[in-house]
């Protein structure tokens, strides 16, 4: 545990009215010539003097956390036990503590806040339960507020802790989304810009009606009379990078409180798995203030790496990252890392024009772009309806000029949306 931040002392001014009380007693007592009110002067002076002579207490605390499970699964409940010990040599007459529970861990039982009096060496324990959601959740410093015996002065201290809860969400069930230039039907028309070595790696499979004549293995036909089609690996194996829009604007939620960014990550995981199962190489990149990148690959180990980075990577935070986002820099970063011949699947809720602009710029750099856009907008208020109209207009714009958009209404399963799209795109 590192040093506490410098504390803040402040005057609460709760007893500021006591001077008025003293004068009131004096005035009434004098004007009425009675002793009672004059005695009240002493009360006013007494409280005022007491308020003046106290000082904010010394708040030196030792803070310990015990977490029932530091690597829970999504939806698990995690019990947190906070123990605070007064390390100073004076009693803290009025101590209030507020634990730094991260926003991504909603409290479902108990409360992370407590008030008590602590003698030197005294401890107090606070227990509460949070529900785990996908992501790396780092606790904020504990906020400790100490007041004197009569509440005239206050000292505020932040005590850092290093509690982290890592919740890794498994990848969703694989979904098969047809991408541009990757389907088997387009054998022969696909430009493979990997350059060279195309003919050496191939597989032979059963002929399907419609396969182009030039792909038929005539040698085999001559030998055994079978009809078989040669499939070159490049024509099937694509390199796909999922660029996930993690800008702060995308952290708006559906009717169940799940953010659009969360859905985008889920979609990337599902479609990515589907692609990897088919033998394509898949990578992910975050598109937001923070950066996480996994270069394309495939196989069991790679799936695990993708799953972990999508849950714990800096770029895929469960809560919005409000630091500065510069479009130009983000695009340059993508260009720098994503292989030239890679297709891009841009997973974004498309809540603003920047998303549209991003698709345009990615296309301009010669990546085939498919857009998966989760729609979290509920019909309801005027604001929601306006957002919905604007979003549909943006999606229309993207479709007309740049590429395919899978407009996924998150109330229904991804597979259903893909089925609809598949029919429309073929």
């Amino acid at each position: 545990m590192t040093d506490s931040e410098r504390p803040i002392e402040r005057e609460t001014y709760r007893w500021i009215g006591m001077a008025a009380l003293a004068f009131a007693g004096l005035a009434v007592g004098v004007l009425s010539s009675t002793p009672g009110p004059l005695l009240v002067v002493a009360v006013g002076i007494g409280y005022a003097a007491a308020a003046r002579s106290v000082t904010p207490p010394d708040v030196t605390l030792d803070v310990e956390h015990e977490v029932s499970d530091a690597t829970p699964d999504p939806g698990d409940e995690v019990d947190v036990e906070l123990t605070v010990r007064n390390e100073g040599s004076n009693t803290i007459p009025d101590l209030r503590v507020v634990d730094g529970v991260p926003d991504g861990l909603p409290v479902v039982d108990g409360t992370p806040r407590h008030g008590t009096t602590l003698r030197p060496g005294g401890t107090t324990t606070v227990e509460y339960t949070v529900e785990a959601g996908r992501g790396r959740h780092e606790f904020d410093p504990l906020l400790a507020i100490g007041r004197d015996w009569i509440g005239a002065q206050e000292r505020e201290v932040a005590v850092p802790t290093d509690v982290t809860v890592d919740c890794v969400a498994p990848l969703e069930a694989p979904a098969s989304l047809p991408l541009r230039g990757q389907t088997a039907q387009q054998v022969g028309t696909v430009t493979t810009n990997t350059g060279g070595s195309g003919v050496e790696f191939h597989t032979v499979r059963e002929y399907r009606p419609g396969d182009p004549l030039k792909r038929i293995d005539w040698n085999r036909r001559a030998r055994s009379g079978e009809l078989a089609t040669i499939e070159f690996r490049e024509e099937r194996a694509a390199i796909v990078v999922f660029v996930i829009d993690t800008r702060v604007e995308g952290y708006v939620t559906d009717s169940r409180g799940v953010s659009a960014v969360e859905h985008a990550i889920d979609a990337a995981g599902a479609v990515g798995r589907g692609l990897m199962d088919d033998g394509n190489r898949v990578g992910v990149a975050s598109f937001g203030p923070s950066w996480t990148y996994v270069p394309p690959g495939l196989g069991r180990d790679h799936e695990v790496r993708l799953r972990d980075r999508l849950s714990l990577g800096d770029g895929f935070s469960p809560t919005p990252d409000r630091s500065k986002f510069v479009l130009g820099l983000a695009l340059r970063r993508i260009q720098k890392h994503v292989p030239e011949n890679a297709q891009i699947v841009f997973c974004s809720p498309v809540v603003d024009e920047v998303a549209v602009e991003t698709v345009r710029r990615l296309e301009a750099h010669e990546h085939a772009v498919t857009v998966i856009s989760p729609n979290v907008i509920d019909r309801g208020s005027v604001g929601a309806d306006v957002e919905r109209l604007e979003r549909e207009e943006r999606i229309r714009k993207i479709r007309q000029t740049y590429g395919r958009v899978l407009n996924w209404n998150v109330e229904e399963p991804l597979e259903v949306a893909i089925e609809g799209a598949r029919r429309r795109w073929s």
């Binding site: 803040i8 402040r10 005057e11 609460t12 001014y13 709760r14 500021i16 009215g17 001077a19 008025a20 004068f23 009131a24 004096l26 005035a27 009434v28 004098v30 004007l31 010539s33 002793p35 004059l38 002067v41 002493a42 002076i45 003097a49 003046r52 002579s53 507020v98 529970v101 926003d103 909603p106 409290v107 806040r113 906020l143 507020i145 206050e154 505020e156 952290y251 708006v252 939620t253 409180g257 953010s259 809560t319 919005p320 809540v351 979290v376 907008i377 509920d378 309801g380 208020s381 005027v382 604001g383 929601a384 309806d385 306006v386 957002e387 919905r388 109209l389 604007e390 549909e392 207009e393």
Partner: protein, 188 residues
């Protein structure tokens, strides 16, 4: 002032208070001095004045206390616009003119696109229809953009407004957006 000075003043004040109380309750100590009713009155009035001074000062001083950050839930889409509409509804007319314009402009932009697509007209034609209110049958929706059509003395309009939860502006905005969505959906 420094704590030391304040402490000294406090001490002197306490001493005076004690002596004063002693005098009050033991007239023998102050036997030489005479009591004047007028003077008592003056002291009393001074006391009242100081009560006023102290109360004013106390009223002007804000109390301070630490404010822990409350967990902030993620917003839903459209919340900001809804909040703006509500604020417009609650503010007096002259104060919300700019905000109303901004909302009209935003919804107007999307309305133009919808009309261009649905009616096949040009953007300037679409804007004309909006300004004239000819794009819809719903009078409230029309009045949202065609503000000239609004009759401030319309009896039923005012009657409805006094019983409704939302302001007139909010209702017209809501009707306009609903009409736009209806236009979109008839085509799908």
């Amino acid at each position: 002032m420094s704590r030391v000075t304040a402490g000294r003043l406090l001490a002197v004040g306490l001493v005076f208070a004690i002596i004063g109380l002693l005098f009050v309750f033991n007239p023998r100590m102050a036997a030489n001095h005479s009591v004047s009713g007028g003077f008592l009155f003056i002291v009393g009035v001074i006391g009242v004045l100081f009560v006023g001074v102290e109360l004013t000062s106390a009223y002007r001083t804000d109390r301070q206390q630490a404010r822990p950050r409350d967990p902030s839930p993620l917003p839903k889409p459209g919340e900001e616009l809804d909040a703006t509409l509500e604020a417009i509804g609650e503010a007096p007319f002259n104060e919300s003119v700019e905000d109303r314009e901004a909302v009209r402009e935003r919804i107007g932009r999307i309305a133009v696109r919808v009309l261009v697509r649905q009616f096949g007209c040009s953007p300037s034609e679409a804007r004309e229809r909006l300004a004239e209110g000819t794009w819809t049958d719903d009078p409230d929706a029309a009045k949202f953009f065609a503000t000239e059509l609004i009759d401030p003395d319309d009896f039923f309009d005012n009657l409805r407004a006094s019983f409704a939860d939302e302001s007139r502006f909010e209702r017209r905005a809501r009707r306009a957006v609903t009409e736009l969505i209806a236009l979109e959906e008839t085509d799908d």
